[in-house]
Symmetry: C2
Subunit: 311 residues, 2 copies
C-alpha cells in the first residue's frame, strides 16, 4: 500500500517521528496543539534541501563570475580564486570549502572578498537577473541536470506536507540569501520573504533610486546567528528545524526547546546512489543529535529516492 | 450609492488614483499587469496606519516601563526620561520627539539608551508577553479606547482591498519591530514576518537557549534605510508605498520609480476631528510629493471617518 503522504520516505523512525509530530501539533484537542500562525518550520538549504557536494551550488555561480571578471581584467588571472576559475580546476576553491568544514578558515577572507567583488556596486535587480540566467543554463556537474531539478525529493514532499498541515516553511541557510531567493518559490514553494541567508551590506543610492550592494559582508547566517535571524525575520520561534551540519546546531537546539519541538538532522551516509557520503562538518551536530535525542534522517535508510524524476 | 470598496474614502483624486492603480496592475492583458508575487505594498505605521499624536504609541508603553524601573531602582528617578515617567508629565519626552521632528536629535541618545534598558537581557518571548499585556490594558489618552481599536479605518479598508487584489502588504516603520509585531496580525492582517521596523541588537544565549536583547540599537528603520530593509526582508521592490513623513521619502521614491509605481503621502490636515493637524516632520515629504507628483491623501478631504466604530 502506498502511503498518501511522504511517499519517498521509507517506514522508519524518522518518518514516524515526523508524522507523529504533525499529528500532535495539528490535533485541536491535543496537549500540543498549535494554532497555524505558530506552526513554523525552518530548513537549512545546502546539504539539507539540495546537495552541497561536489561543491555548493552558489560556488558554481561565483566561479562563472570570476572567470568573466578575469577575462575583463587579466591582472586578476594570477590570483585566487580567479586563477582556479579560469583554469577550470576547482581544486583551490574546493580546498577552501574543505578547510572550512575542518575548522580552518585561513583562506576564507580572500574568498569572501572575491565573492563581494562579483556584485559590488550592482543593484539588487541586476544581480537577480544574473542569478536567474545562471539557473536557466547551468547543470549540476554530476547529476547533469539543471539545479532547480536537484532538490531532494523527500524534502520537497516534507515541505509540501507541512504547508498542507498549516505550517509556514522558511529557509535558513549559510548560503547567499539573494542567490537562493531567485529560485526558492519555484523550487521549494518558499517565497522570497521566507528565505533567510547570508548577505552583503546594501545601501540606498539616491542617484540611481535603487538598492546597491557594497563591499562588505552584511551578516553570515551560520551557527548562533541562525536563531537570531529567524527571530529577526519571522518574529516567531520555530517548532521544527531541519539541518545537516555543525552550523545548524543552535537552530536545531532552539526548535527542540519549544514545548513540542522537533529537530531533524540529515545524515549523508549513502554510498550507493548520487549523494556522496560525508560527515565532514557535521561531527559536532551528530554528537549533539545523539546526546539530545534529535531525530537523524539517514539518506541511505530513510529516503527511497533522492531527486525528482528527470523531465 | 455606496461604493463596495474603500467605503470610508470620499470620492476624490486619492481614491481615484488608488482604484486606477489597482485596476491597471491586476488587469491581465494590460500594459502594467503584475503577477501576484510582484504586487508588494508597504506602509509606514506611526501617523500612517495609526495616530502618532499626542505621542507615539510605543512611547506610552516605554513610559510605563520607565515608571516600573524607577520604582525598583530609585536612583533612576532623578534622570530623564525616568523622572518624566514617574511624574506622569510627558513634557520632556514629548519635547524630545518634537525636537526630533524639527531636526534636533541632541537628546535622542539618552532616550535611546533608556529604550534599550527596558528590554536589555530580556528574551524575545518575554518582551512579546509584556507588549501583549500593554495592548490588552492601555487606552489612547485622547480617544479613550484600546490602541488596537485606533487604526485608521480608511487604511484598514485599503490594506484589505489590496490583499483581496492579490497584494502582499507589509509594514515598514521607524517604530520598534518587536512592539508592532505583537498586534500587527490582529490589527492590520499583517503577519509578523511582514513587519519591518527598528530593532535592538539580539544574540543567541546558549545557556538560556533563547534569543536575548542586547544594549545597543540593531537598525533604525528610517529614511534611506527603509528601501534597504524592504529589499532585505522581502526581496522584492514595492509598487505601492504609503507614508506620512520625511522618513518615508526614500521608500516612496523607490516605489514611485517602479514601472507603474504609486506613492501615497498622508497629510494630517484635519482640525475638526480626532486627528490633530500637523505638518511637522513632513515638510520635505510634502515638497517632494508636489515636485514628483505623488498622491497626497488628505485626512480632512479624503477620509469620511477616522476610526473603526467603537465596540
Amino acid at each position: 500500500m502506498t502511503s498518501p503522504v511522504l511517499p519517498s520516505w521509507r517506514e522508519g523512525p524518522a518518518r514516524t517521528a515526523i508524522l507523529r509530530f504533525v499529528a500532535e501539533v495539528t490535533t485541536p484537542d491535543g496537549d500540543h496543539y498549535l494554532e497555524p500562525p505558530d506552526r513554523i518550520a525552518v530548513f537549512d538549504n545546502d546539504g539539507t534541501l539540495w546537495p552541497e557536494r561536489p561543491m555548493p551550488v552558489q560556488l558554481h555561480f561565483l566561479t562563472e563570475r570570476w572567470r568573466e571578471m578575469a577575462a575583463a581584467d587579466p591582472s586578476l588571472a594570477d590570483r585566487q580564486p580567479y586563477a582556479s576559475a579560469v583554469s577550470g580546476d576547482p581544486t583551490w576553491i574546493a580546498s577552501v570549502v574543505d578547510d572550512h568544514y575542518a575548522g580552518d578558515d585561513t583562506r576564507v577572507p580572500a574568498l569572501a572578498e572575491a565573492i563581494m567583488a562579483t556584485q559590488q556596486d550592482m543593484d539588487t535587480d541586476t544581480l537577480a537577473e544574473r542569478v536567474a540566467e545562471f539557473f536557466a543554463n547551468a547543470r549540476h556537474p554530476v547529476l547533469k541536470r539543471p539545479y532547480p531539478a536537484c532538490a531532494y525529493q523527500p524534502m520537497l514532499e516534507l515541505l509540501g506536507f507541512l504547508r498542507e498541515s498549516g505550517f509556514t516553511t522558511a529557509i535558513v541557510s549559510g548560503g547567499g540569501r539573494d542567490f537562493m531567493r531567485v529560485v526558492s518559490a519555484d523550487m521549494y514553494g518558499v517565497p522570497p520573504e521566507l528565505v533567510i541567508g547570508s548577505t552583503a551590506e546594501t545601501s540606498w543610492s539616491s542617484s540611481r533610486e535603487a538598492v546597491v550592494y557594497g563591499a562588505s559582508i552584511g551578516v553570515l547566517d551560520d551557527g548562533p546567528q541562525k536563531p537570531v535571524l529567524i527571530w529577526d525575520r519571522l518574529g516567531r520561534r520555530p517548532v521544527l528545524a531541519c539541518g545537516n551540519s555543525n552550523g545548524d546546531i543552535e537552530m536545531l537546539t532552539h526548535a527542540a526547546a519549544a514545548p513540542r519541538g522537533l529537530a531533524l538532522l540529515v545524515r549523508h551516509d549513502d554510498d550507493t546512489r548520487d549523494d556522496p557520503p560525508y560527515d565532514g562538518g557535521a561531527e559536532r551536530a551528530l554528537a549533539e543529535a545523539g546526546r539530545r535525542g534529535w531525530v537523524t534522517v539517514s539518506v541511505r535508510d530513510d529516503w527511497s529516492c533522492l531527486y525528482p524524476d528527470a523531465t
